[in-house]
């Protein structure tokens, strides 16, 4: 096979796949709408099958061609209203699509694909209708009386090319032409002028005609009366107008007529209506007998431009209207408008097919560029301050690089709709199989995700959807009894949420039965009976997602083989995502997935441990905890050789990077003297999330955050579960990326135990009446220090004093290009303010609203940020009171005022709701 042929083949496979993928939702829609289905949808399906058939015929894939031909016949019956759309028909068509897909997937072996069953189904449907319709469907010649009536309908339907009409009457021919054009056909002219040339080609007219019909359609065998001159009288031997979806090169290859004899006729030049009878002003009935050169009604004298074979200037389409009967003109008008609209919309989404491989390479290069940029910025940081202009250049490079990288990432983004689309079919088929009525709806189809993530989501989502249909949705009877609508609903939705994509799969089924899950878990020895009594909601969900768990009473071929949610969870986590399950018994279940937009570049924190540096993906970091040496004894505890961190109301298992990577076991923890009297070090702990569990990863040092380009683990390191990949940092050194779940697995963490401990811990904490809070410690002036709850702080920013401005008696600060109102502590409270000499001050921006709506409304001016810490709050009345002051506490012997920053800001700038 030559390279050209290979390319053609690949293109065909690619296109056919796309066609087939597009058909499925349309078929489902047809089933939904029933006999009232918009003809547009039926036509779309028809066209897709038709193109597949055309390509298959050209490439000589016989069974593929034959099978699509049968599909096409069924669709034609539907289109012509001769076949009622009912589930069995759609079933057969869907299964047919599957067969086509199988054939296309391994197209070279397509002839070996067994399609007898599906073929039988389709034939049965055809049998049922065919006897009555065969006559005028397949072999019949169109009768003209009908042709007029049908013009309108035909205008919106593609024409099957196996119905070989003799030269169609003018109006019909025009409609056909328009129609073919609208559906991507090209019009060509086959012109062989002299018999000598014709003979040298060594084909007969019959052969040529047959091969043309394989790949397209002959519109006219002697357009514009040119060829009423018989060859022997000096006219061309062949002068045919051909319509085909193939391009000129392919057409030449397919028909065996060399390219020089084929000229393509542009859209604007197409001679619609310039048919033989046009000159008479009325359309006349034409003889129905197959045309012979002599039987055509001659048009006026041959036009001289016939002799210019390549470019043929033809009349504009509009011309025809004047000459047509009003009714047809009207239909045509509508038709034209449709075509125009179609063309316009095509312009809007002009696309280009690009090889994924090339995109990947571009992406690699862009990633390298980002690295290079980072290195450059770092290397030139000092020089940039010294030499004027360099800073601006660097900034420019910085920006362009970012743009470029984002642009390239964008090219790999795909709408999630392409993924969601397939589940309607999955849910429907499975529902029918199980005797359930299921309707699957998808929302947020436009949300975009990296191609690789979309691909990796296929399996987990399929599993979740199948689970929902199989386990969650009840049978119609059961639903009726429960007074639920008979049709079970599954909702797939995607949305953006704080830089991630959130996918929710919701059903209104029976929900997760907690007792059933626990009973099963005890049976399978996943949990002890005593532990089960204390199990939290999270434990139940965890059990669901543990290996080897399945609650299905019967093993069906659908699910229940015990390979399930644990695989789903692993898959989702491998993508850097998280999975959560909420369920209410009898009401429904909601599975939530959170996923990064892209895999290639991830924000991560660089930490120091085990004598080196490592990258930890930010997505898995819940929070950073700094346990100061004084607190270490209380907060870090050693339980049976396992280290635990007391964090607020919980006990969190701790894992030391050093231990895991050096292969040490729990014994090492005891030797380390942690949590004992000799422990006098500061500890940095990353609270990591893996699935629904959390654990603390102990590191030696925290470095900066960096956007890293993830590179796969080299082959020789594949087996090391602790690493998710490698990357090159801004300074050029290679760093391993830690894999939170791999580390947990290697450290042998057992989370069920931890969460039970947590229950105990929380009661303990409550009894003591002590609440741990994460706070930010700052100084308002050299004399006064304050703490604010961390969750009430949106952002801390360093600002230049030069950015502080005063206008209209109010203070403002330039913040991200806007003037943000400034609150000075001394404005509100009886305290001294930030010293005037301080060049550099800080801005504390409170989180005024909830969630993403939290827009900065004002900033509090702060002298120094001192610390962020977890502390037990034992608040006493402070020395002074005022707006937002909640009390005071002693911190390292210094009286520290506890402030509610939101209340403080609102006392100066009342929020809109409150003001209202």
């Amino acid at each position: 096979m030559t390279e050209d042929e290979l390319e053609i083949l690949e293109e065909f496979v690619q296109e056919s796949r796309e066609h087939l993928a597009a058909i499925e939702p349309d078929l489902l829609e047809m089933e939904r709408q029933g006999s009232g289905t918009a003809s547009e949808i039926v036509n779309r399906v028809f066209r897709a099958i038709h193109s597949t058939k055309g390509g298959a015929a050209f490439l000589a894939f016989e069974s593929l061609k034959d099978f699509s031909h049968v599909m096409e016949n069924v669709l034609m019956l539907i289109r012509d209203g001769k076949l009622e759309i009912r589930p069995t028909v759609i079933d057969a068509l869907l299964r047919g699509v599957d067969v086509l897909r199988r054939m296309v997937d391994d197209v070279r072996k397509s002839d070996t694909v067994d399609c007898s069953v599906e073929r039988g189904l389709l034939d049965e449907i055809l049998q049922e209708r065919l006897p009555k319709t065969t006559a005028n469907m397949v072999h019949g010649t169109p009768n003209v009386a009908n042709a007029f009536a049908a013009t309108g309908a035909a205008a919106t339907s593609p024409v099957a090319e196996f119905v070989v009409e003799p030269d169609p009457p003018a109006s019909e021919r025009d409609t056909i032409l328009r129609e073919l054009l609208a559906h991507g056909h090209q019009v060509y002219r086959f012109l062989v002028k002299s018999p000598a040339e014709w003979n040298s080609l060594g084909v007969t007219k019959d052969q040529l005609e047959r091969s043309v019909l394989e790949v397209g359609r002959i519109i006219d065998k002697c357009p514009r009366g040119s060829s009423q001159l018989a060859p022997e009288r000096g006219g061309p031997v062949i002068d045919w107008e051909i319509a085909s979806v193939l391009d000129r090169r392919l057409l030449a290859a397919a028909t065996g007529l060399p390219e020089p004899y084929i000229s393509s006729i542009g859209r604007s030049e197409i001679d619609v209506g310039k048919s033989p009878m046009r000159e008479n002003g009325v359309v006349q009935p034409v003889s129905l007998a197959p045309s012979q050169a002599g039987t055509r009604i001659p048009s006026p004298a041959p036009q001289p431009r016939i002799n210019i074979p390549e470019v043929v200037v033809r009349h504009a389409a509009q011309e025809t209207q004047a000459s047509l009967p009003p009714s047809i003109a009207l239909a045509k008008d509508k038709n034209l408008a449709q075509i125009a609209a179609k063309e316009q919309s095509n312009e809007g989404n002009e696309t280009l097919r690009v090889r994924v491989e090339l995109l990947n390479r571009l992406m690699d290069s862009a990633s390298e560029l980002v690295l290079g940029r980072n290195q450059l910025l770092r290397a030139l940081k000092e020089q940039a301050d010294k030499s004027a202009g360099l800073g601006i250049i660097l900034q420019h490079i910085d920006r362009v690089t970012t743009d470029l990288q984002e642009g390239i990432m964008q090219t790999r983004m795909q709408q999630i709709g392409s993924l969601f689309g397939r589940f309607a079919r999955v849910a429907r088929d499975l529902g029918r199989q199980l005797g359930k009525n299921v309707e699957l709806r998808a929302e947020g189809n436009h949300v975009e995700l990296d191609k690789s993530i979309i691909e990796a989501l296929v399996d987990p989502l399929t599993h979740i959807v199948r689970n929902a249909v199989d386990h969650a949705i009840e049978t119609p009877d059961e639903r009726r009894k429960r007074k639920k609508p008979e049709v079970g609903r599954i909702l797939l939705s995607a949305s953006h949420e704080s830089g991630q994509v959130k996918i929710i799969i919701e059903d209104d089924g029976r929900g997760i039965d907690r007792t059933k899950v626990l009973r099963k878990a005890i049976e399978k020895g996943l949990i002890t009976a005593t532990a089960a009594e204390k199990a939290t909601e999270r434990d139940v969900v965890n059990l669901l997602m543990s290996p080897g768990f399945s609650t299905a009473d019967q093993i069906s071929d659908v699910s229940g083989r015990g390979v399930g949610m644990d695989v789903v969870r692993n898959n989702v986590e491998a993508l850097g995502g998280q999975i959560e399950i909420d369920s209410e018994l009898g009401v429904g279940t909601s599975v939530q997935l959170r996923l990064p937009l892209t895999l290639a570049i991830i924000p991560s924190l660089i930490v120091g441990a085990a004598g080196g540096r490592f990258a930890v993906p930010q997505a898995s970091i819940v929070e950073l905890v700094w346990v100061r040496s004084d607190d270490a004894r209380e907060r870090i505890q050693c339980l049976q050789g396992a280290l635990m961190l007391r964090l607020r109301e919980r006990l969190v298992p701790l894992v030391k990077v050093d231990d895991v990577l050096s292969g040490n076991t729990a014994a090492a923890a005891e030797q380390s003297g942690w949590g004992t009297a000799t422990d006098n070090r500061d500890h940095y702990i990353l609270l990591l999330r893996t699935g629904t569990d959390q654990y603390g990863l102990v590191v030696d040092e925290l470095f900066e955050s960096e956007e890293i380009v993830v590179k796969p683990l080299p082959h020789f390191l594949k087996g090391i579960e602790c690493f998710a990949g490698t990357t090159i940092l801004g300074d050029g050194s290679v760093t391993m990326i830690l894999d939170p779940s791999g580390i947990a697995a290697r450290a042998g963490l057992r989370f069920a135990a931890a969460s039970v401990a947590e229950v105990g811990m929380s009661t303990m904490a409550r009894q003591n009446g002590v609440i741990q809070r994460s706070v930010i410690l700052f100084a308002g002036s050299p004399a006064e220090q304050y703490i604010v709850p961390q969750e009430q702080v949106l952002r801390l920013e360093r600002v230049d004093r030069a950015n502080l401005q005063r206008a209209g008696g109010k203070d403002y600060v330039c913040y991200r290009g806007v003037g943000l109102p400034l609150v000075r502590l001394e404005q509100v409270l009886p305290v001294s303010g930030v010293p005037d000499i301080a060049e550099e001050v800080f801005l504390l921006i409170p989180r005024m609203g909830r969630g993403r709506a939290a827009e900065p409304t004002a900033g509090i001016l702060v002298w120094r940020i001192l610390d962020a810490l977890d502390m037990e709050l034992n608040l006493q009345a402070g020395l002074f009171s005022g707006p937002g002051v909640r009390g005071a506490t002693l911190l390292d012997g210094v009286l520290t005022t506890f402030i509610d920053p939101v209340a403080l800001v609102e006392s100066v700038h009342p929020s809109k709701e409150r003001a209202a």
Binding site: E368, L371, G372, A610, G612, L661, S662, G663, K711, P714, H715, F716, L717, K718, I720, C722, F723, T726, I728, G732, S733, V734, T735, M736
Partner: protein
């Protein structure tokens, strides 16, 4: 006629076909990888590409020299690299792996020309770990040159 890059691990002279070598660098900075097989020195950044560095001494079971003055890293061609070479020289017996690999050695020697007939099979008295990684032996004027078999050397088992 084959051209071999010769190099020393410990005191022993080894050779590898020059077609398999992309470049030779002086000892690269590299990041050790915990839990990796002992014959992996670590990962190095070679102009944006992450290279896995093998400690050839450990892999072959040959004692490395202690002084580091002559230490070099021989960068092997990866599969895609080699594909280009293959088509040029019509050699299908060349083998490498898909990842970029570097071999850390104690010293680089000359490029040695060896007649095809001059390569003998590994003598029976060469035993131990290194034997499985050798494809043949060439007798030079005053010393034996052991020719490495990358197919074995780059097999992670």
């Amino acid at each position: 006629m084959k051209h071999l890059v010769s190099f020393r691990v410990g005191t022993q002279l080894f050779g590898i076909e020059i077609l398999l070598v992309r470049e030779i660098d002086t000892c690269l900075d590299c990041t050790p990888v915990q839990l990796a097989p002992s014959y992996i020195v670590g990962l190095a950044n070679l102009r944006g590409q992450i290279v896995t560095l093998f400690d050839l001494g450990d892999r072959l079971g040959v004692k490395r020299r202690t002084e580091r003055t002559g230490t070099h890293d021989i960068m092997l061609r990866s599969t895609s690299d080699l594909a280009l070479v293959r088509s040029r020289v019509h050699r299908n017996d060349l083998f490498t792996c898909a990842d970029p690999i570097g071999l850390r050695v104690d010293g680089i020697g000359d490029i040695v020309e060896v007649e095809d007939g001059a390569v003998e099979s590994v003598p029976a008295n060469v035993t131990g770990l290194e034997r499985q990684f050798l494809s043949g032996v060439a007798l030079l004027v005053d010393e034996l040159l052991l020719i490495l078999d990358l197919r074995q050397l780059l097999d992670p088992r």
